[in-house]
């Protein structure tokens, strides 16, 4: 009995310690947002653009086909069961509110969060972070901050792209390749979508961006000095990011719609 209680206690303490460390890390990063320094602005801008290019632009090749597939599949399936009666409403409900943000987050986790965590972990293991410190530069500012801004902005852009491609592209794909009657779909979507739907989508995309960035940066910077720790850390980052996005997703949906 003592053994079980001890095990539960240790796990709880570890989880609480992890959460506190994450909050401390959020505090360090957010201090950088409000404490702007004149030095290094050009470099920060360059690194932020590089991050947006990698996370948003290069992900278009993945997100556009995925959005097209999901959009057309949903339209095909729901036009059959609902006979178009409330297809626009269903599309808004599923794509804009739920599937859009979560699939975008999933793609960013798979492509970017893991890559950033590996990159920073590698830099930690091979003393590259120390090399930046020896130049008198705060590594959190020069490595963490551009990724924080870049990934969050990129998720927001990708979410908009996903929604547009899924709805318009899905509609076109079904219209061109099938005989399913979906003539009024865009009009139905227009009638069904509200300002709250768009706001919720943006809030979700921003929250996912923040949580994904914080988690991958935190794990990257706290990597121990063994290279064998990096694969385990990467897998932890992917799981933790996805789980946190699901929790945030449920929380925001409940907050706005219930």
């Amino acid at each position: 009995m003592n053994h079980i209680a001890g095990s539960i206690g240790r796990r709880t303490l570890t989880a609480v310690d992890h959460m506190l460390n994450l909050f401390a890390f959020i505090h360090s990063i957010s201090r950088l947002i409000f404490h702007r320094s004149a030095t290094g602005q050009m470099m920060l801008r360059k690194f932020t653009l590089e991050q947006i290019y990698f996370t948003a632009y290069q992900a278009l090749y993945v997100i556009i086909p995925v959005a097209l597939l999901i959009g057309s599949l949903l339209i095909v399936q729901f036009s059959m069961i609902s006979a178009q009666y409330d297809l626009g409403k269903i599309m808004v409900l599923l794509i804009v509110r739920e599937i859009g943000p979560i699939v975008t987050a999933l793609i960013v986790i798979l492509r970017t969060a893991t890559a950033v965590s590996i990159e920073i972990g590698y830099m930690q293991v091979f003393h590259e972070i120390e090399a930046i410190e020896m130049a008198g530069i705060d590594p959190l500012r020069i490595i963490g901050f551009p990724r924080f801004i870049g990934i969050t902005a990129a998720i927001l852009c990708l979410f908009v792209v996903f929604d547009l491609v899924a709805v318009i592209g899905g509609y076109l794909a079904v219209w061109i390749f099938t005989y399913i009657p979906v003539r009024n779909l865009l009009g139905q979507i227009e009638a069904a979508i509200t300002f709250t739907d768009i706001l919720v989508g943006i809030v979700k995309a921003l929250s996912f961006g923040l949580s994904i960035t914080i988690i991958c940066l935190y794990h990257g910077f706290k990597a121990n000095i063994k290279i064998t720790g990096i694969p385990a850390q990467t897998s932890k980052v992917a799981v933790e990011c996805f789980f946190s996005c699901l929790v945030i997703d449920v929380f925001i949906s409940v907050l706005f719609y219930l």
Partner: protein
């Protein structure tokens, strides 16, 4: 005024070694300290402590008369900027080209991406034969060239203190003579050097004082 002062310092061993207990150390401009030790790990630990890359269990670190609170790594950044660190664990940033690595510090503090190598750095690149490899990334270079680039980066930041771990192993033997000449010229301009070396010629050339670390105790001669 001492450039670096470690007062009542105690360093925990890192992965190996004895650590170093209860010592004080002052480094003045132009000093040349050579480390003799029974444990290479302790010598490396001491060098890293000088470069503020490890924090002490107890003790205070002073740089140019200002006490540095090492509990927050950001406080040590201005000191690190003034210390050249040429050691086995020194690295280049792997996702930047050699040129970007050499200009990294200047680009940040001068807030420009359009900088070119100054004459001194370009001359060092020429002498260390990496002038034609400036656009390559560290992963594309021979380890010898990476070490040369690190040496150039550290020398070109005009440090007040130079920390060296086995320079005879780190620096290509064909460039070692030039490196010694460069360091000697920098010492004339008040650079302090602390090093661990087994090259008697280098020790005789650059050490004015000796640090002995034996079984976790530090003494001077």
């Amino acid at each position: 005024m001492a450039t670096i002062e470690l007062i009542d310092y105690t360093l925990e061993p890192q992965s190996a070694g004895n650590g170093i207990a209860d010592f004080s150390f002052s480094l003045f401009g132009g000093d040349g300290y050579c480390i003799q030790t029974d444990s290479l790990d302790d010598a490396v630990l001491f060098l890293k402590a000088l470069a503020t890359l490890v924090s002490p269990r107890k003790g205070t670190y002073w740089f140019n008369g200002v006490q540095i609170d090492l509990s927050d790594y950001r406080n040590a950044l201005p000191c690190k900027q003034r210390i050249g660190y040429i050691a086995s664990d020194a690295a280049l940033i792997s996702n930047r080209s050699v040129r970007e690595n050499l200009l990294f510090m200047r680009s940040f503090f001068e807030n420009s991406l359009r900088l070119t190598l100054d004459d001194h750095t370009a001359e060092l690149c020429r002498r260390f034969e990496i002038l034609d490899k400036l656009e390559r990334h560290p992963g594309e270079l021979h380890p010898r060239d990476i070490k040369n680039a690190i040496t150039i980066r550290e020398l070109s930041k005009h440090p007040e203190v130079l920390v060296l771990e086995r320079p005879e192993d780190f620096i290509d033997h064909t460039k070692f003579g030039f490196f010694k000449k460069t360091v000697a010229a920098m010492i004339q301009q008040n650079l302090s050097v602390v090093f661990y070396s087994s090259d008697m010629n280098f020790i005789e050339s650059f050490s004015t004082k000796k640090i002995m670390i034996t079984k976790g105790r530090l003494t001077f001669s």
